[in-house]
């Protein structure tokens, strides 16, 4: 069996893990801070000479979601039935006074002269000459990925297939809206959801392709010896475009939780996200030859996240805000941000001191405590900063428990992630009826090495 490595690439941290075995090179899990060491350098340093061994690499990445939220990614071209070029943009939800971030641009959206009737019969056939004209345009625009959304293509995909074949032959990566599986409940759904999903997939594909190149650079001359796969997941309450209500097959899953299968729910308390991984779920097919993927697990993001802000709430008390701030600039603990987060509360209470590779700044601890104190003081009379942090910590545990209660009666929950040790005693105290089992890293690594995942990529 080939060596199988797992990488989790977040906004600020990358984590790597490999199997325990005779070759001790892979024994130590490794974490590094991306602003200090690039992804490529970190992979190269960690692998060392072992890069020549070859094997499999599985990657969880938050890059696509990050790019979308920060509007940094390369938007794909979108081909849609003529007359409906603006249907997606007028159908996107409005959040805080503006349309949600769409992975599309009006300049890259093109009407295709074709029409199917509701029963799937062809009313206006697709004209391949039109595609020739379009191909010239896409070449000029340096398009890499194309999303296609045609009316009634879920009943009869003939035109989408013709378009896909035409552009695939010319080297483009094409995502068609009809290419959905019943598992994803996209058949017969609102055309908006089907089209958006194709668009998000094309967008994520562009972003992940860039990341794949970084991995290949790190592997250097040995890259042919490794197979790279990005992990996807069915996210119970929000994929990469969380809050917009859309789905994409490139959700930012927690790959490494897959080792536990359905034995018990996994509470993943990572540096950048908290997830409750509930059960295995069937696969989304591999749809991009450039970025092989397989489906990970169904998971639920907790209502509280490491970068959730501590802010003045509706009631006159500090609270945990609903919208995580992400890791750019991230928590105060890393020295760049001005506002405290959940991460900073735990940091202020000295619960992170034993965790390696975080590059936390000691002076930030007092700044975090000060900001918590200032926040609370503006609202009510408070005793001391540490007491505030402790009360907030209690609130955070209450919020986590709200998610745990969704599981119903459970006797065991496995806890993983860099922050697991920090929260474990608090969870045990709050829920004495549950046995929280800290996942030992070695077991994790062995399982990654041993387990055959159910939805192997075709590539």
């Amino acid at each position: 069996m080939p060596v199988r490595l797992g990488f989790s690439v977040g906004e600020s941290f990358a984590e790597a893990i490999g199997p325990a075995g005779d070759d001790s090179t892979f024994l130590a899990p490794h974490r590094w801070h991306l602003p200090r060491k690039s992804l490529t350098d970190g992979i190269r340093d960690w692998l060392g000479e072992s890069a020549s061994d070859g094997g499999e690499i599985r990657i969880v990445s938050s890059l696509a979601g990050f790019a979308l939220h920060k509007n940094l990614g390369t938007k794909p071209s979108f081909l849609v039935t003529t007359g409906f070029e603006s249907w997606l943009s007028v159908n996107s939800p409005v959040i805080e006074g503006s349309r949600g971030a769409l992975p599309l641009s009006d300049d890259l959206t093109f009407g295709i002269s074709e029409r199917l009737r509701a029963d799937g019969s062809v009313e206006t056939p697709l004209n391949l000459d039109d595609l020739q004209f379009l191909a010239a345009k896409l070449e000029m625009l340096k398009t890499k990925a194309i999303a296609v959304g045609l009316l009634h293509s879920d009943v009869n995909p003939i035109h989408e297939v013709q378009i896909r074949d035409y552009f695939k032959e010319r080297g483009y990566t094409v995502f068609c809206s009809h290419e959905q599986t019943p598992d994803n409940a996209m058949v017969g759904c609102h055309e908006r959801d089907r089209w958006l999903r194709a668009a998000f997939d094309a967008y994520a594909s562009n972003a992940l392709q860039d990341q794949k190149i970084e991995f290949e650079e790190a592997l250097g001359e040995h890259k042919e010896k490794w197979t790279l796969q990005f992990v996807t997941a069915s996210d119970a309450n929000g994929p990469l475009h969380r809050g917009l209500g859309y789905r994409s097959s490139f959700g930012d899953a927690e790959a490494l939780g897959t080792v536990y299968g359905q034995k018990a729910p996994v509470l993943h308390l990572g540096l950048e996200q908290f997830l409750l991984i509930e059960s295995e779920r069937g696969g989304v097919p591999d749809r991009d030859p450039r970025v092989p993927t397989y489906c990970g697990l169904r998971h639920r993001r907790l209502g509280v996240q490491p970068s959730s802000p501590i802010e003045s709430g509706f009631w006159p008390a500090p609270t945990v805000g609903p919208a995580p701030r992400g890791f750019e600039p991230g928590p105060m603990a890393f020295g760049k941000a001005q506002h405290p987060t959940v991460f900073d509360v735990v940091f202020a209470l000295e619960r992170l001191d034993a965790i390696d590779g975080l590059n936390l700044q000691e002076k930030s601890r007092s700044r975090a405590l000060e900001s918590l104190f200032t926040l609370a003081k503006s609202i009510a009379k408070v005793p001391d900063p540490k007491a505030i942090a402790k009360d907030l910590e209690t609130l955070i545990i209450e919020r986590m428990n709200e998610d745990l209660l969704i599981l119903g009666k459970r006797t065991e929950i496995i806890v993983t992630g860099a922050l697991a040790k920090a929260f474990l005693p608090l969870l045990e105290a709050r829920r004495p009826d549950i046995r929280f089992r800290l996942a030992p890293q070695a077991e994790w690594a062995e399982a990654i090495a041993a387990r055959e995942l159910p939805n192997e990529a075709r590539a």
């Binding site: 003529t82 007359g83 007028v90 009737r117 879920d154 055309e191 309450n237 509706f314 209450e398």
Partner: protein
């Protein structure tokens, strides 16, 4: 739970999130938790009309059916806590421990494409359902379910949607029971009163952020009926007095729906969602004289009132807030819908509501084809589903260029939708903002008004239609609907308008 720094509000915060999480599990529709004495504990609204109506629907069901743990009732009567006949409310009883009596009620609302009546007749808008037992002692009454689903006026997909909603309600019920059994959890009846009191006190803090004062504003419906509003903002209360408002035969809503419009207008003025419960409701007083169109009585039709009427009330209230505080000023919006209904010979009925562009605000351009009050309804149309279910084809949906008013900040564009009927049908339509253009503000220009035209099969010309009416259509006839643009904000200057 720790209270070392004396924040009882921590408990309120925790309860709020727990309620929110519980209702999330029910589904994506509006939902509420209601105490057994009829007080709203938590309302999560998709549509502002649900704010006060959901608790009322729950109370009606409990009053007539005495729900036990796990029992579920169904209701849609607009004059017994409903909104419009196309919106169905399910109400379930929950007991935290044991099975009787219930501790709280869960109400969940699911909406279907609303029919509207040009004549103002409720019966023409669907089937009126009084409180009806759907699940009792763990058994679903499949006969009732099938009978409702097979009624001629029942919306498509009703049975499947109801079954899905029942599953969601059950998830919420199980979650609440699990929380109720947690010895450290704050979910106890004794805390509800305290929670509502804490909300009331906390809302005080927010109400003081509104500008004190009073103002009088008015507007007219498309058909000329007046809406008058005296808005009074006091230290701890906002009064919406609609005295002097006319009655109307086509745009009508209940006083509870009007309350929801006013509540949402306060939230919009504050720029903050407030916990919607009996505590926060105490800060709002709505004076809606009976028989005016803001407090219609049975058997008035309510579909247009619940969407267009509510949008007009909210927009007027926002205008009032804008008069009292310039930061709230906003240009006029194509906020009300342009609505069509197609009755086919075989009894099928297609309806669609399309929003216009929103008005620009200081520093913010308007949004295309968007009304916060119609968001849920406007986004519901699926072209594919409509074409599968009805003999029609939607030919195009495009932005209406130039429809947004010019200004330093441009108004949002309206939409142009084209529908082609494939069988004989009777078209009914009703446009708001067809006569009066959505106004610009501070030098901004008005948006274009709504329009509708018909192109007969085989004819190359189209004929403009008035703002409402009915017409017989033949196969191949095409309806072109143009929704209004939003008004612009500020004098358009030499620099291009920002949109």
């Amino acid at each position: 739970m720790r209270k070392s720094w004396g924040f009882a509000e921590f408990q309120a915060d925790t309860l709020f999130h727990l309620f929110e999480r519980a209702l999330e599990l029910a589904g994506s529709g509006s939902a509420a938790l209601v105490t057994m004495d009829g007080k709203a504990l938590h309302v999560r609204t998709v549509h502002p009309a649900d704010t006060a109506t959901l608790p009322a629907a729950a109370t009606q069901c409990q009053q007539y059916l005495h729900l036990k743990d796990g029992d579920v009732a169904l209701i849609n009567d607009p004059f017994a806590g409903g909104t419009r006949l196309s919106d169905l409310t399910l109400v379930a009883g929950v007991t935290f421990e044991g099975s009787d009596p219930c501790d709280v009620l869960i109400a969940y609302r699911l909406g279907f494409d609303p029919r509207f009546s040009l004549d103002g007749k409720l019966d023409d808008e669907g089937l009126r359902i009084p409180p009806m037992p759907l699940v009792a002692q763990g058994k679903t009454n499949k006969e009732i379910l099938a009978a409702i689903a097979s009624a001629p006026q029942a919306p498509l997909g009703l049975q499947a949607a109801l079954e899905q909603a029942l599953a969601g309600l059950e998830r919420t019920r199980v979650y609440l029971k699990t929380c109720g059994k947690d010895p450290h959890n704050d979910l106890r009846k004794a805390n509800f009163k305290k929670y509502l009191e804490q909300t009331r006190t906390a809302v005080d803090r927010w109400i003081t952020k509104l500008p004190l004062g009073e103002t009088m504003i008015s507007t007219q419906l498309e058909t000329g009926e007046r809406l008058k509003l005296r808005l009074e903002i006091h230290d701890d209360k906002v009064i919406f007095d609609f005295s002097g408002t006319d009655s109307s035969s086509h745009v009508q809503l209940t006083d509870l729906t009007t309350f929801g419009a006013c509540f949402r207008a306060i939230e919009a003025a504050l720029g903050k969602r407030l916990p919607a419960n009996a505590g926060s409701f105490q800060h709002i007083q709505v004076l809606a004289p009976a028989r005016t169109w803001v407090n219609a009585k049975a058997p008035a039709a309510t579909t247009r009132g619940v969407s267009d009427g509510l949008a007009i009330i909210s927009a007027l209230a926002m205008k009032g807030f804008g008069k009292l505080a310039s930061a709230q000023k906003s240009a006029g919006s194509g906020h009300a819908s342009s609505r069509i209904r197609l009755d086919f010979k075989d009894g099928r009925c297609f309806t669609d509501a399309t929003a216009g562009g929103s008005g620009a605000r200081n520093q913010t351009a308007g949004l295309d084809a968007f009304s916060v009050w119609l968001e849920h309804e406007s986004r519901a149309l699926s072209i594919e589903r409509a074409e599968r279910a009805y003999p029609l084809q939607i030919r195009s949906v495009v932005s209406r260029p130039g429809s947004g008013g010019k200004g330093k900040w441009a108004g949002g564009q309206g939409l142009v939708k084209s529908y082609c009927v494939l069988e004989t049908a009777r078209l009914s339509w009703a446009l708001e903002q067809a006569r009066v253009k959505p106004e610009g503000i501070d030098g901004g220009k008005a948006g274009l008004s709504a329009e509708i035209a018909i192109a007969r099969s085989g004819s190359s010309e189209s004929e403009d239609l008035p703002s409402s009416g009915t017409l017989e259509l033949q196969p191949g006839d095409v309806i072109h609907l143009h929704t209004a643009g939003g008004g612009g904000f500020g004098e358009p200057d030499s620099t291009p308008a920002i949109s």
